[in-house]
Symmetry: C2
Subunit: 292 residues, 2 copies
Amino acid sequence: MEILEVYRERVNSYLEDYLNSISPDNSYQSKLKNIMKYSVLAGGKRFRPILTYTVANLFSIDIQKVDSSACAIELIHIYSLIHDDLPAMDNDDIRHNQPSSHKVYGEAQAILAGDGLQALAFEVISSDELIDSVTKVKLLNLLSLSAFKMAEGQSIDLSIASKEVDIELLNNLHKKKTGSLLNCSVMFGAILNPTISKKDLSILDSFSNHIGLAYQVQDDVLDVTTSEEILGKRPNSDSVNNKPSYPSILGLDESVKKYESLYREALDEISFLSIDEKPLTDLTVKLMKRSF
Amino acid sequence: MEILEVYRERVNSYLEDYLNSISPDNSYQSKLKNIMKYSVLAGGKRFRPILTYTVANLFSIDIQKVDSSACAIELIHIYSLIHDDLPAMDNDDIRHNQPSSHKVYGEAQAILAGDGLQALAFEVISSDELIDSVTKVKLLNLLSLSAFKMAEGQSIDLSIASKEVDIELLNNLHKKKTGSLLNCSVMFGAILNPTISKKDLSILDSFSNHIGLAYQVQDDVLDVTTSEEILGKRPNSDSVNNKPSYPSILGLDESVKKYESLYREALDEISFLSIDEKPLTDLTVKLMKRSF
């Protein structure tokens, strides 16, 4: 099995076990758990956990020590998707090829499922007995800051619908909305290595910021060029919601050039890491070539 | 100045300073911050932080070490109010005698303000340099579990509207919805004392569960008997939303007896603490006599 598939299956099974463990199974109390499980276990690329596993593995961190961080990142990501899909936000009815949480359970329960998932992201790390307290506090602090910036980014994103914006604002907003959680995914792998050098930390930080922006520009491009079936959600969502996007400001060709050059910059950076960066290079190249 | 007023002013000023510190002030980026500040600084009894300060002070914990915990508890509480007031939830237009967040900023920004506040509750503790890492992890773990249970409680609460429920289910739901955060407020004060005895911990845990339930029964009673002006929100919200409440199941007189007896049980328990419990007794008596 390909290594990315190994990571994907690993985080899937950790997520399922964790969600099953958190609340006793009885008719009323397990309701929110089931709503959370509907969205968490619906699939998805698990790209953020894969990044965390890949970076941690560069430094030979015991994979069992990485599970809770990988799980936490994905819980935050899924909570953000549930809230983003709400009628008051992007109003998307389909996510991962199934009806969005609010379409199945109603808006109130979908909001609460997102709220519960955010809380659990902090629970899963803070209760992990394999990680020392100093490291846990670093992970939890970065996670909380990243989750806050993500909400700030979404707030800015919603406030600029139908407005003329420049590329600087768009970069700035996506650095928060998408970039902060991708930065967190990469830095989690780095923080789990308590002896990492300052130079490696700084390379990975910069790498994550470049792929974070690249990923978003690419998302905007794919949103215009890919079918609903492959995306697993409604395409053209930016133009439907009158949101400024990279293609709408730069044009499609320039947008493709932009994300490719950002990925190449990221690849160039990690060649200076003190350890063998090949697995991370492979993942980045795969990402650059993704079609959904 | 009365000690409760000292605590209230202290947490108010800590909350304001903290929110001002977390994000640079520029037109787009400060938007979510201002939305959060609107709700956080609107006032409120600050009962949860006051509990944390009062319990920590029983054990002579340096008050500066208590600030971040007191602030975190209130941030979670305010986020839950913003989300509870949403049209999809309890649909309340007035909170703390001012229009609810979603009435001023729209549903999307109100949801995001709640989301951001939850993230910041974990940030404020994890970044507090006055507290050691082992204690921080304990605080963060309890906070995450309590925040999750609170969301679960609200989920159950919404699912039983217009249904026949028994008193056991109502107790169980409020233990989560209101009780878990009150338990957290009390236990924060206890956890901040690293040398607390198991007996004191267990007394405070039981005390907090009793006042948690008492507080909710009393809230249900006040919801029926108090004017909008004094409540600072729409009265009779349970019956408007067809929610089962203690008065609707037990009747008003029995409900008053129930919360008074729960408070008395709580008062009895803390008389067995190893330290002078008088400040906590005074607070509990005050609570029992509250009129809003």
